[in-house]
Symmetry: C2
Subunit: 433 residues, 2 copies
């Protein structure tokens, strides 16, 4: 019989044991932080009615969907984010949920067929949202949870670059251009990549004059510090209600952030932050690693007015953010801060011969009962081969039965050895400082 070539689809990949272990530990850390703030998990299906997933999606995004007709004739699609499923979920279960509703969701999402090299078509998305309340307390909470997540991950300093959509809207209102917020945002989004001149010409194209464009660009440029930035923004938004509310809320958010014990300089008011998604209506945030700014945003989010308007008449404002699991894994690797652990086993008991196997099993079980992850080498092999196995896997301690029934312990890192009368002696040796 000819063999089937073992391979994965383009854009899909396996995780090797060490990678999977690192990701699993990272996800656990993130979940612990979420739960410490009262956020609990939910789960939704990977596969949904295509109608739900598509919602008001544009044609470009639709091209990326994995969609098909199932064997029951239903038009279905694999989800491409966790926001649409969240919107569907809160609309469907509104009566059973308790609001303010704090939830996190860590799940796989699927985006296919874009030409970028190396782009993952399946990846783990990690979102947290607080749905219901409006105002600075909720916004500040989101930023504090974000900051706590990064602090727990040991990725070095992280700066949350924060802005509020209402400030630019207020400015456009003073300029008599409130109806052009969308094209202006779209133009600004290209500023970093294409430079001011391109942005100016796009804005001229939607009828802004040069003075107005100067104001807009000034309003999207951070000052020397947050106070300077806010003062300059205050002058630009004038008396507009939304502009003043945006600025006042940023001040409150900053105060609450510090009150919660966060480093003040971990939050920076940065009016250049726009975030493309058009459903943000208030605060917006992007997280950047201080040591690896070029890796790009490692998370972000913002406030939205209306999460689930496609599915329910209930008005559901909220604030939420995503944590970039994959990019954080890359960052930890680049920083050399990834956990050294290649396996969870702390102690290997070598195969002692069939006649002493029960004893080896008891020895390993005793270590395990004391919290030391342990395994017995599960079949007869040359001792050297078993030691190579321990070495390749990165097991820190190896115990081999001596003829007198004691165990010869070896610490693989430095070769230190010890003769241990029993599991309890082995434990003492392993745990000595």
């Amino acid at each position: 019989m000819s063999l089937i070539q073992p391979r994965t689809l383009k854009g899909f990949r396996d995780l090797m044991p060490a990678q999977a272990l690192r990701r699993s530990a990272l996800v656990r850390t993130v979940e612990d932080v979420f739960q410490a703030h009262g956020y609990g998990p939910i789960d939704t299906p990977v596969l949904e009615y295509a109608e739900i997933i598509k919602g008001k999606m544009g044609g470009e995004a639709t091209k990326e969907l994995f969609e098909f007709t199932d064997k029951g004739g239903r038009e279905v699609a694999m989800r491409n984010d966790l926001t649409v499923p969240l919107a569907r979920y809160v609309a469907q279960h509104e009566g059973k949920l308790v609001f303010p509703f704090r939830r996190y969701h860590i799940g796989l999402v699927y985006r296919g067929e874009r030409p970028q090299r190396g782009r993952a078509r399946e990846f783990l998305q990690c979102d947290a949202d607080l749905i219901g309340p409006v105002g600075a307390a909720a916004d500040a909470e989101a930023l504090i949870v974000m900051a706590d997540v990064y602090a727990a991950l040991d990725v070095g300093g992280v700066t949350l670059r924060v802005n509020d959509r209402r400030i630019l809207n207020g400015l456009l209102e003073t300029l008599g251009a409130a109806d052009r917020a969308e094209p202006v945002l779209r133009a600004l989004d290209k500023r970093e990549k294409l430079g001011d001149e391109t942005v100016r010409s796009e804005m001229r194209g939607v009828g802004l004059d040069d003075a107005a464009i100067d104001s807009v660009l000034a309003a999207c440029t951070p000052g020397v510090d947050d106070e300077a930035t806010l003062a300059s923004l205050e002058a630009l938004v004038g008396e507009t209600e939304q502009g003043r509310a945006g600025i006042a809320d940023l001040r409150t958010v900053r105060e609450l952030f510090e009150a919660a014990g966060q480093r003040p300089d971990a939050l920076r008011i940065d009016p250049s932050i726009a975030r493309g998604l058009d459903y943000y209506t208030g605060i917006v945030v992007e997280a950047q690693l201080d040591e690896l700014p070029d890796i790009g945003s490692v998370g972000g989010g913002g406030r939205y007015d209306d999460l689930a308007g496609l599915y329910t008449k209930s008005h559901m404002p909220g604030v939420g953010f995503t944590v970039g699991i994959t990019r954080l894994m890359d960052a930890l690797e680049a920083l050399g801060r990834e956990e050294e652990t290649r396996c969870t086993t702390e102690a290997l008991v070598t195969f002692p011969g069939a006649e002493h196997l029960t004893e080896a099993f008891a020895f390993a079980a005793a270590l395990r009962a004391a919290g030391i992850a342990s395994e017995v080498y599960p079949q007869r092999k040359k001792h050297g081969q078993q030691m190579r196995y321990a070495d390749r896997r990165g097991v820190p301690f190896v115990f081999t039965r001596n003829e007198d029934g004691s165990y010869h312990g070896k610490r693989m890192a430095d070769g230190e050895t010890s003769t241990c009368a029993d599991a309890s002696a082995a434990l003492t040796w392993i745990q000595k400082p």
Copy 2:
């Protein structure tokens, strides 16, 4: 604009927050046990080439697949188990893996279009396997890990019903019917449901005489205790090598199981256990809850000779098992042993008015830093409404700022109250025995 009906596909479901929290805690417990035994996670894509997923799958199973042509023209399918992906994985990455290879994999699998009522089309599969070694030590390890998993989950006593395929094969060899192992197994599989007469008539159909059938049925009936069972099996398998090896290994497995500190009666030799899957070649096991035997098996597995023969010429024997996450969740619910936790928040600080909000944020952060999951109610609402929120979510402690700056603490379970000067006093009160 008309609304889209928020709904999930038939056979797919959302997890409500309390369910998702329970499942997440359960999965974590299982992972902890796996890791304590040196098993690490791997991950593989949900979507694979259909050719890989189908392998040598029969037509019936194929009907259950979610398969389609992707937008790049590839024939793809969503995985319907984690065994085929494991086989593909070890074949593809053989050179990078360290053998003996212990891995676990917890992931979603998809099976559609079977008519059974209420059958889930998406569910979480949880498998552990030890690949490479052959023999009783590896088999015993698998059973010990299984027993440790159930012990950690607090589902009451669990019995592992264990058999070895080689015993029946040995008996059939003595009967000159070694070539009819498959139809005999298929017939035996129906014994519990259809009764001995149906089974006898099927066996007659493949040429066994009544004396042979009597032997087969006797060999599939447990004795009063394991010793009696083994003695009776020994008589039946005669001198056949495989029969004797199966019995000898069961004896060793039982010894090692006990040596590792497991309750002896948690393992029962039960020759009626067959397990349908035709790829098992040695030990087979099914786990049954002592308090809820009727709920069916909550896990099972066995030894196989050749995991990845479709993809590689390397011979990969192993032993593995699956833990029935969904059925265990049902069992915990039926036993009333599910965790009471409806949310992770331990302390809610009510909204104190905008002028004291920074103080409330500091109070909650101090509790959190001491390990108490805490949240601030994130917007101004009537106090009664905030208390109802705490009650509906099941938050155990609520703190409300008094006018003098102290906090009024309330324990929701019994209504006990305490006036706490600050977060540190609140912490002492929460943690008092």
